[in-house]
Each structure stands twice: as C-alpha cells, then as structure tokens.
C-alpha cells in the first residue's frame, strides 16, 4: 500500500512537471501564432517599408553544383530587386529529402518554398493542404516563358497547379561515341533510338572490348517504370488517349500485349547481359553513373540532364563532343520514338507561409529567360523554353544537345501517374520478373486488382 502511494506521488509529480512544460510550449506557440497574425499583411507593403523578410527554400538537389551555382546567382538578383528580402536556400539529397519535409509539414514549420517529388508524392502533399494552388498566379508572360512545360502533368493534380518546374530533362540513354564506334556501331541522332535487338547484338563485341553495353542501377524503381511508360507510349498509334493512364484508372485491363511487351524489353535486355546482373542492386546516381564516367560501359540508362554538368571536360568540349544521347530502346519494328520529357526540380509555395506573394515572385524569376541563361551557363537545362532559332551560346556540347532535344517536337511520354500503389507494384513487379521470383502475367493481374479493373 505504502509503495503504491509512493509511486502515485511520483507519477502525479512527474505528470505535473511534464504538463507544465507542455503548457509552456503551447503558450509559446500561441504567442508566435499571434505574432504571425500581426505581421500577416501584403508583402509589397512590408518590402517597401524595408522590413526584413526571410524566405526559406529547400529542394533535393544536394550535390548538384549546377543548380547550386544557378540559385546563388538568382538569389543575388532576387535580393537586389526586393530590398529587405533574404532568401535562404537549403539543399538535401534525393534520398533524404522526405526526412526533412515530412516533419516540417506535419509540424507546421515548413519553408516558404519547397520542392515536392512529382508524381505520387505530389498527390499526398496537395491533398494535405500544404501547397498553394498557383493556377491563378501564373500570368500570361510567365505562361509564355514556360511554354510546353506549363502543361506538365506532374505539376497538375485535381485541376490545381501545385508546383512549377525549374529545370527539365529529356530522360534517355547517354553514351560515349568513341566506345560505340570501337565496337563497330555508328552514333545516331539524339531523336533516334536503337532497338532491343541492336543492344543485344552489341553484347559480344562490347564484351570482347572489355565493356558493359549499358550501365544501369535499378535500386530506384523509377528506373524501371519511367522507361516502361515510354515503351507503352512507343506502341500507341497516337499520344491520346494515354493507355497507361487508362489502365491506371481501371478503364482497361493491364493484361494485354502492349503492356506485356514492356516487360519483354526488360527481360530480353537483362537475359542477354546488356547490363550486368548487379545492375539490379546498384543505384544509378552514384554507382552506375560513376562506372560510366570511368568508361566501364558504353551506354548509361540515364535519368536526367543534370548529368550534363558532370561530364568530363576532355570528352565534352566543342573540339571533342564525345558524349551522345539516344532515346529508350524501340520495343519493336512498328513502335515510334517517344521522348520522356520531364522536369527535374519543382517548387511549391507553402500555403501557411507568411510571404506567399514574394515566394511566387521567386518562382517566376526562376522561370524567366534571364534565369534560363543562368541555368544554361551552369550546365542545367531550364524549364523556361529556349528559342531554338535564337539559342544562347553553350560551350557544353551535351547540354546544347539536351536543350535542343527538349525544345524539339516529338511524341511526349508521360511518366507521372497518380496511383501510388499501382506505380509501386509495377516497379517492384518488373524487378521481381527480372529476379525470377514473379511472372509477367501475375504482375499484370495484380495491377488489374490494384487499379480496380472490373472486366
């Protein structure tokens, strides 16, 4: 009895102290909320009065020097044009970004501007109410700067425009031209593609020369499903309707040849040894790309134009433009080349931010023609369209190729779909088929289940 009484006293005292700390915390939070309310007035006013305004901005481009240098220049311009405004830019890496963003959003401490992974993550963030719908904020001038990028499906969800692209990529395959020529093949146009059989035919001569044909890293499953979507779009007669989207929505069945063929491409390339077995356990950004830079393989199963800033200068200069790009493999004789034109980084505005108008000004600046020049000078392909007839001077040959490719007409291939479970099952499914632990038919049947196809 005595012991129970003692413990009761200890527990009560502990709870009292704990709740006191808690209440002090709540009080401070309430005070800060009040102060937010007091300062909640149009930003123009606060800027003209030269009050200090600090905008915080984060993305996942950690390690990307091109982006960092571009933003450093743009921040200088922005702060010069908005006296009293300071922009604090913080980079995280792709794999750790959510560790920062999730606690920040759920704790109500998110920065004024932040990047969101396009595709499935965008749905969740938009639905949480953390993003401002920018649809009505983008004026005609801004729209004209963005050009076709304005219609990127990955920025839109449920008729709202939640994020805006800063840099873009033409997701395709990169290669060393001299290594390709060494095994007896000629370089082709960046708007063209080798077939699956072509790659398979390269395996023996490449092996004799001591090379891998393609270096790939499939740990990030988007290296499976992004090209897979391309394979499906190649086989469609026209861009619309998008059959992947129809299947994702459960309108058509996954269990048909056009979807099976996408798996077949992966199976054929894998079984023929076009990439090594351990591509399945490698990451593309560091391991595969690192090996490719060291010329261990001819091609790189690429995922973006940010590689343009990381090329070795000795084989990427106007005198020796040795790096080339081609589109994803053609599925069969009747398929048409499709371009995976996506965006790299995007930015959204925090709906609870105090300085949203100023934040929007920043995004607009990053999409402006002068920002495009800055991005290009730092090896980054800008989202703001570039006039092909009036191209700025680019001393990075592969970047020039990327900018041209992105701004050239061609069949557009979407990679952003809003059915997270299906996208996850597809990525895992392709991997499991390559590992031999699942069958194509089983994966497609599972996809029908997930997507709610009724037959």
């Amino acid at each position: 009895m005595k012991r129970i009484l003692l413990w009761a006293i200890v527990v009560v005292l502990t709870l009292t102290v704990a709740s006191t700390f808690g209440l002090i915390g709540c009080k401070e939070e309430a005070d800060s909320e009040e102060s937010v309310g007091e300062e909640d007035r149009p930003i123009e006013e606060s800027v003209t009065e030269k009050e200090e305004v600090v905008l915080r901005f984060t993305d996942w481009q950690g390690g990307n020097d091109g982006i960092l240098k571009s933003y450093q220049e743009l921040i200088g311009i922005f702060e010069g044009e908005n006296p009293g405004a300071t922009l604090e830019y913080q980079q995280y890496t792709v794999t750790t970004y959510n560790e920062f963003l999730k606690p920040a959003l759920s704790g109500g401490t998110a920065p004024d501007l932040f990047a969101v992974y396009p595709g499935t993550d965008l749905v969740e963030v938009a639905e949480s109410g953390a993003l401002r719908d920018l649809k009505d904020d983008i004026d005609d001038e801004w729209k004209s700067w963005l050009g076709p990028a304005y219609d990127f499906k990955g920025m839109w969800y449920d008729e709202g425009l939640w994020v805006v692209a800063q840099d873009v990529w033409t997701e395709c395959i990169w290669y060393h031209k001299d290594m390709l020529q060494e095994i007896g093949w000629d370089a082709i146009d960046s708007t063209d593609a080798f077939s699956v059989e072509d790659y398979i035919a390269m395996v023996d001569p490449a092996s004799e020369a001591g090379y891998d044909v393609i270096l790939a890293g499939f740990v990030e499953t988007w290296c499976y499903f992004d090209p897979y979507f391309n394979f499906i779009h190649q086989q469609q007669d026209s861009e619309k309707p998008d059959m992947v989207e129809q299947a994702m929505n459960g309108e058509i069945s996954w269990q048909q040849d056009i979807f099976r063929n996408g798996f077949t491409v992966f199976e054929k390339l894998h079984e023929a040894g076009v990439w090594r077995q351990d591509a399945l356990s490698m990451d593309y950004q560091v391991q595969a790309f690192g090996d490719w830079l060291e010329r261990k393989g001819i091609f790189m199963w690429g995922q973006g134009d940010w590689f343009a800033g990381s090329m070795k200068e000795e084989e990427n200069n106007p005198d020796n433009p040795n790096i080339g790009i081609v589109q994803f493999p053609l599925v069969n004789n009747s398929s048409t080349v499709a371009f995976n034109k996506n965006f790299g980084t995007d930015i959204g505005v925090y709906s609870q931010g105090e300085n949203q108008e100023l934040a929007i000004e920043w995004i607009k600046l990053t999409n402006s023609p002068r920002a495009a020049e800055i991005f290009i000078s730092n090896g980054v392909n800008p989202a703001a369209g570039v006039d092909l007839n009036n191209m700025p001077e680019i001393d990075n040959p592969i970047l020039e190729e990327c900018v041209k490719l992105y701004n050239s007409p061609g069949r557009h291939s979407e990679v952003y779909y809003y059915n997270p479970d299906a996208v996850k099952a597809l990525g895992d499914g392709i991997g499991n088929v390559l590992l031999g632990v699942d069958t194509v038919d089983n994966v497609l049947a599972q996809l029908d289940d997930i997507c709610g196809y009724q037959g």
Binding site: V94, Y117, R276, Q352, G431
Partner: protein, 300 residues
C-alpha cells in the same frame, strides 16, 4: 534536560521515503518525453491514415487497417524473416566465433597477441556506413571477391544471398567487439583450476567445455544481450549495402519502416511505418522480459 521532538508521521514519511522518490521526478519527466512518448505516439499513429505530410496527424482514424496492410504485404514478412536471421546469426554465429577467437588467442600464447586482437577489433571502431561502402565495392560483380574466386556472380542481387552478405559484413565488423569482452572474461579464470585439470589428464575439449565455458557464461549472456539489442535495430549496414534490395528481399524491420515512412516516391504510409515500430517495440519487450527472467533464474 533535553527535549525530544517527535516528528509527525507525515513528515517522517516524507523525509524517509517521499523525498528520495521525488528525486526520480526529473529523470522520469525526461524519460516520459524522450522515450515513452514516441512509443505511445507510434501506437496512436498506427491507427491513423497518416502520410507524414499532414499538419493534422489525426485526420482519419482507420482502426487496424495499417496492420492489415502490413500483414498482407509479403515484403513485411520478408523483413520479419530477415530480422530474425540477423538476430539469430548475431547471437549464435557471431558470439560463437568471438568466443572461439578469444579462446584461441588467450590460450594460444601468440607472440603478437596484441596485434592480432587489434586487427580483429579494428572494424568495430569504424563507421558502419564506410564499412558498408567498402564491402559494396568488394561484393560487386566486378569486385575483388569475384576476381579472387574467378567467378562472375552478383552477390548483392541474389534474392537468397543478399541478406546473408549483409549479415556476414555485420559479423565481420562486430565479432572483434564481442571477442574483446570475452577476452576480458577469460582473464578471470583461475589458472590453478586449469593446471589441476592438466594434472588430472583432462584434454582441451574437456577443459573448454567443463571449465572455461561455465566460467564465462555470464559474459556469454552479456554478449548475447548486446547483440540482440544491436541487431534488432540494424539499419545503416542494410541501407548502404543493399537499400533493402533487390526488390525488398534484404529488408529488415528498420529499413521497411523507413521505406513506408520516408522513401522517395515510396508508399507514404507513415501510419504503417508506425505499426512496424510498435510491433518492433512489442518484440523487443518480449525478449527483454525473457532476458530478465533468465537472468533472475541464473542468479537464484
């Protein structure tokens, strides 16, 4: 003549027992905030549909749905199996190997005993991330191991072998740590008993099984407990070596929890991640209770 003031019972009670117990309050407050509140929070979150992005954590109560998702996910069961492989190997293979090494070095009377111990212990002082990066290179298809063995095999892409590669690297790193603890324990053995056994004509296996091991049993239990706790929460080695792959086949509890909660373009189901955290908590508690019971029985 002195006067004797007898204190009131309540004051006596406060002085003798209340006051000492009140000293526990600061520590318990910290414990509540830092240790207990995340456990309670993860239990609560496991009943909510929480993506991690919502400011309103308790937006939608979904009962046991997160647990249902988890139990229907074959990758969770793979992670369950792998975690127990990991724990099992750490408390059996690693402890046995460490004991073996410590006995060999202790009784072997090697000239360079200190150097040998240092070399074996050395990986334990390195960061698991750097060790994993080094082993990732060694185990890659064009890595040193395949070149030595003259084979072309992808160790980390093998569905069945990937987790064992991770376990091997973990054992390689921590066996020296266990060995040093055993080595310290072996120093407490009374040499005269061993000499008496020699006089009685006991062979090596007899001396090891009947004298050495019974003497170091408390150290064995200590190493088992340390490895049990360490291996349940393993994350870094798995994440850097395989990131749970190929296709989730080397996931353990912590990595699949990370995948559900934070992974880029992952499921964004922090409620499910919380369910895993709670399941882990329950399993560790069960092991903790078993450990306490066993130790008490041992003491008795």
């Amino acid at each position: 003549m002195s006067t004797y003031h007898r204190k009131k019972p309540i004051l006596r009670f406060w002085d003798n027992t209340g006051k000492p117990y009140s000293f526990l309050v600061p520590a318990l407050t910290v414990f509540l905030f830092i240790s207990l509140s995340p456990v309670i929070m993860s239990l609560i979150l496991s009943f909510y549909d929480f993506t991690g992005y919502d400011a309103n954590i308790f937006k939608e109560f979904i009962g046991f749905e997160n647990f249902k998702i988890l139990f229907n996910d074959r990758y969770f069961w793979i992670s369950f199996r792998n975690t127990f492989y990991f724990v099992g190997a750490s408390i059996s293979i690693q402890v046995a190997l460490a004991l073996f090494l410590s006995i060999v070095i202790f009784f072997g009377k090697f000239k360079n005993s200190v150097l040998i111990r240092t070399v074996i212990f050395f990986p334990a002082v390195l960061a698991p991330v750097s060790i994993s990066l080094a082993w990732r290179q060694i185990l890659s298809q064009d890595g040193v191991l395949n070149q030595i063995l003259r084979i072309d095999f992808s160790w980390l892409s093998s569905v069945n072998l990937a987790i064992w590669c991770v376990i091997f690297v973990s054992i390689w790193q921590w066996v020296g740590y266990n060995m040093i603890i055993f080595y310290a324990g072996l120093q407490s053995i009374d040499r005269t008993i061993l000499e008496a056994a020699d006089v009685d004509g006991a062979n090596w296996s007899g001396k090891i099984l009947k004298i050495v091991i019974p003497t170091v049993t408390p150290v064995i239990i200590l190493n088992v407990i340390l490895n049990l706790i360490g291996s349940f929460r393993v994350f870094d080695i798995v994440y850097v070596l395989t990131r749970g792959g190929p296709i989730h086949n080397s996931e353990v509890f912590t990595t699949i929890m990370y995948y559900y909660s934070f992974s880029a373009n992952g499921p964004n189901k922090m409620g499910v991640g919380s369910s895993i955290a709670f399941i882990m908590f329950v399993i560790v508690i069960i092991f903790g209770v078993i450990r306490i019971r066993l130790m008490r029985r041992g003491e008795e």
